[in-house]
C-alpha cells in the first residue's frame, strides 16, 4: 500500500533520546526517540505517571529537556518559541480556561495573542455545538469547556495539535462529541494530532498512530495498521516458547497445563502448523505492553524496527 498523499518525509514531532529528570524525584522520561509523520492522529497511551504529560510539555516548550532533543515542525520549542508556538495548538490536562471570562472573551484572548487566528472558524464551531458566547466559562459544563478549549486551539490554525487527556473527565456523550469535532477538523487536512489518554477504548477508531509510554520509556511506536498486522495471538498445545522467541518478539506468554498462549510481534512468518494464529485487538496489545516489566534488551531492536517500518510506506 502506498500512502502517497500523506507527506511522510516531514515529521510533525521528532524526538531523539529525549529525557527529563525532576531533581531527585527521578526520570519522568528516558531516551524517548519518536518520529511522528505529518497528518497522523496519534494516541499517546500509558498509565498515569508514565511520562505522557512530560512528553507533551516538552513538545510545547513548557519544559526544557534534561537530555536529548525535541523538534516540532522542525523547530526547537524551548529555544525557538517564536517559531514553534504559532504552529502548535495545545490543550493541557483539565482544559484550563479563565473561569471569569465569557466564551466571547476567550475568543478575543485568542485573537489578541495569535497572529494566525481564524475567528469565524471558532464561532461557527461553537455555534454548531450550541455553546452560548456570553456565558462565563466557569458556568459551562465540563464537556462544553473542553469544546471551548479545543475550539481555541484549532482556531490558531496549528500544524500540530497536542491534547493532554482531553476526554478523561468527560461523560460518554461529551467524549463522542469532542472526538467528532476533532475528526472533522482533521478531515479538513493539514493537521497532525497527538493526544494522550490512559483510556484506550475510544482511541482505536480515531487514531492511526500509536505511542505506548510506560515506566518513562517508549515501549512501542508505529502506525496502528502495521501494529495490528504485526501482532498476533498464537494459541496452541503447551509448548516451550524458545523456538518462537528466536525469531519473533514475545510480548506476553501464558500457560495452562494443556495450552500455551503467546502474544507476539512477528518478525516474519509462523511456519509451525501447531500454532493457531489469531488477530489481537489494539486494546489487548496495549495492555500486554503495559503489563510487561521494565524494558529489556530485545525490545530495542524490535522497537527500532517498528519505528523504521512506520517511516517508510507499509505493505
Amino acid at each position: 500500500m502506498n500512502d502517497q498523499a500523506l507527506n511522510e518525509t516531514a515529521f510533525a514531532l521528532e524526538t531523539t533520546n529525549l529525557s527529563k529528570r525532576y531533581g531527585r524525584k527521578g526520570w519522568a522520561l528516558q531516551d524517548a526517540t519518536l518520529r511522528l509523520p505529518n497528518g497522523r492522529v496519534a494516541a499517546l497511551v500509558g498509565p498515569n505517571g508514565a511520562g505522557k504529560t512530560t512528553l507533551l510539555h516538552l513538545a510545547v516548550g513548557l519544559l526544557n529537556p534534561t537530555g536529548g532533543s525535541v523538534r516540532v515542525c522542525g523547530f526547537d520549542p524551548d529555544q525557538q518559541p517564536k517559531e514553534t508556538l504559532p504552529r502548535i495548538g495545545f490543550v493541557a490536562q483539565d482544559h484550563p480556561l479563565y473561569k471569569s471570562f465569557s466564551v466571547a472573551d476567550m475568543l478575543t484572548f485568542g485573537r489578541k495573542l495569535n497572529p494566525r487566528w481564524d475567528d469565524d472558524l471558532a464561532l461557527r464551531r461553537l455555534q454548531r455545538l450550541g455553546i452560548p458566547l456570553k456565558r462565563a466559562v466557569g458556568k459551562l459544563s465540563g464537556g462544553q469547556q473542553a469544546q471551548v478549549a479545543l475550539a481555541l486551539a484549532l482556531a490558531k490554525r496549528p500544524e500540530l495539535l497536542l491534547l493532554d487527556e482531553p476526554i478523561a473527565s468527560l461523560d460518554p456523550l461529551a467524549r463522542r462529541e469532542f472526538l467528532r469535532t476533532l475528526m472533522e477538523a482533521t478531515a479538513e487536512g493539514g493537521l497532525t494530532v497527538l493526544l494522550s489518554s490512559h483510556i484506550i477504548a475510544d482511541l482505536e477508531r480515531v487514531c492511526d498512530y500509536l505511542i505506548i509510554l510506560s515506566a518513562s520509556r517508549v515501549q512501542l511506536a508505529g502506525e496502528i495498521d502495521e501494529i495490528l498486522r504485526r501482532h498476533k495471538l498464537l494459541v496452541g498445545p503447551r509448548a516451550d516458547p524458545t523456538a518462537v522467541a528466536s525469531v519473533h518478539n514475545i510480548i506476553e506468554a501464558s500457560h495452562t497445563p494443556r495450552q500455551t498462549t503467546l502474544l507476539v510481534r512477528l518478525n516474519g512468518v509462523i511456519f509451525d502448523p501447531s500454532w493457531e494464529v489469531r488477530d489481537v485487538s489494539l486494546e489487548d496489545i496495549v495492555l500486554a505492553y503495559l503489563g510487561r516489566p521494565s524494558v529489556s534488551e530485545d525490545t530495542d531492536a524490535g522497537r527500532s524496527a517498528l519505528v523504521a517500518s512506520a517511516k517508510g510506506s507499509a505493505s
Binding site: G61, S100, K156
Partner: protein, 321 residues
C-alpha cells in the same frame, strides 16, 4: 497583550481605582480645609514669632488639634504599597500558576518571556503613574505642615518625591516574585506583607538616620537648641557631662526642674545645669541632606526591585512547567 492583561486584572484594577479615587477625594477635601484653616488662623505668622504669644498658642493648638486625626490617618497610607503588592502583585503570576492557566497563556503565540515583560511593564508603569499622582497630591497636602519644620518629618519623607514610587515598585516586584516562587496566591500575599515590613521598618528606623553620620552638638540649654534650625531632623536629645559621658535625663530634670511640666531653657534651669557641668546634646541631620537621603532610600528600594525582577525572570524562564 494590553487587552489580555487589563481583562485578566479587571477586578483588581477596578478596586484599586476605586480606592485611589476615594483617597484622592478625601485628600482634596481635608487638604483644602487644612490650607484654609492655616490661612484663617494665621498659623504662618504665629510660627514666625520667636516668643509665642498666647493667641498664637491657642491658634496653634486649635489647628493641630483640629487636624490631628487627619494627620495620624495619613500615616496609614504607608500600607498602600503593601496593598498594591497584595492585590495586584501577588495574583499576577501566582493565580495563573495556581489555576494552571499558564499552560494556556504560554502556549499561544507569545513566548513566555515576552508575555512576562509586557505584563511587568504594564503593571509597574500604571502603578508608578498612580503613585506619582498620589504623591503629588500628598505633597500639596503637606505644604501647611511643612512650616512646622521637621516636626512631621518621617511623614513628609515617606510621601514625597521618588521615595513612595520606590516603595510601590518594591512591594509590587516582591509580590510578583513571591507569586512566581511559591505559585500560590495566599502564601505570596503573606510573604509580601512580611517582606515589605522587613524592609521598610529597618530602613526607616535604623538605616535612614545613618545615611550620613549625624551631627552632634553639645552646649548649654537655650543656646545649643537654638543652633539647630527647626527644619532639621532631630534624632536624639540627651545630656552629657564635661567628660562626654551620658547623664540620665531623669536625673537632670529631677535636679534642675523638679516637678515642672514645661521647662524654660533660659533662666534658672540653664544656670542649674551649667553649675552641675551638664551639657545638652543634640544629634541631628541637617535639612540640606534630605535630598541626598531621599535619593539613597529610593536607590535602595529600586535596587531591591531590580533584583526581584531579575529573580522573577529567572524563575519564569527556567523553573516552571
Amino acid at each position: 497583550m494590553i487587552w489580555v492583561s487589563s481583562r485578566q486584572h479587571r477586578a483588581e484594577t477596578l478596586v484599586v481605582t476605586l480606592v485611589l479615587a476615594i483617597l484622592a477625594a478625601l485628600l482634596l477635601k481635608t487638604g483644602l480645609d487644612m490650607a484654609s484653616a492655616y490661612q484663617q488662623l494665621g498659623i504662618g505668622a504665629c510660627l514666625a514669632e520667636t516668643r509665642r504669644s498666647q493667641t498664637c498658642n491657642t491658634a496653634l493648638y486649635a489647628f493641630q488639634g483640629g487636624f490631628s486625626f487627619a494627620i495620624s490617618a495619613i500615616v496609614w497610607l504607608n500600607v498602600l504599597p503593601a496593598l498594591l503588592g497584595l492585590f495586584v502583585g501577588a495574583p499576577l503570576l501566582a493565580r495563573e500558576l495556581e489555576q494552571g492557566t499558564f499552560r494556556l497563556a504560554w502556549t499561544q503565540s507569545v513566548p513566555r518571556l515576552r508575555w512576562l515583560e509586557v505584563k511587568l511593564a504594564l503593571v509597574l508603569g500604571v502603578a508608578l503613574l498612580a503613585s506619582a499622582g498620589l504623591t503629588a497630591l500628598l505633597t500639596r497636602w503637606f505644604s501647611p505642615l511643612r512650616q512646622f519644620g521637621a516636626l512631621y518629618f518621617p511623614l513628609t519623607f515617606d510621601f514625597e518625591g521618588t521615595v513612595p514610587l520606590a516603595y510601590a515598585a518594591y512591594a509590587l516586584t516582591l509580590a510578583i516574585s513571591a507569586g512566581a516562587l511559591l505559585r500560590r496566591v495566599v502564601p505570596a500575599m503573606a510573604v509580601t506583607i512580611a517582606g515589605f515590613v522587613a524592609a521598610r521598618a529597618p530602613v526607616e528606623l535604623w538605616l535612614r538616620p545613618r545615611y550620613l553620620p549625624p551631627i552632634t552638638l553639645t552646649g548649654d540649654p537655650g543656646k545649643v537648641d537654638a543652633m539647630v534650625p527647626k527644619t532639621d531632623w532631630a534624632l536624639d536629645n540627651g545630656w552629657v557631662d564635661q567628660m562626654g559621658h551620658q547623664v540620665h535625663t531623669g536625673a537632670v530634670l529631677a535636679t534642675c526642674a523638679p516637678g515642672q511640666n514645661s521647662i524654660d531653657f533660659q533662666g534658672a534651669f540653664a544656670q542649674c545645669t551649667h553649675a552641675h557641668g551638664w551639657l545638652m546634646s543634640i544629634t541631628y541631620q541637617p535639612a540640606d541632606r534630605f535630598g541626598l537621603f531621599r535619593n539613597i532610600e529610593t536607590a535602595i528600594f529600586v535596587a531591591l526591585s531590580v533584583a526581584l525582577v531579575a529573580l522573577t525572570i529567572w524563575i519564569v524562564r527556567r523553573r516552571i512547567a
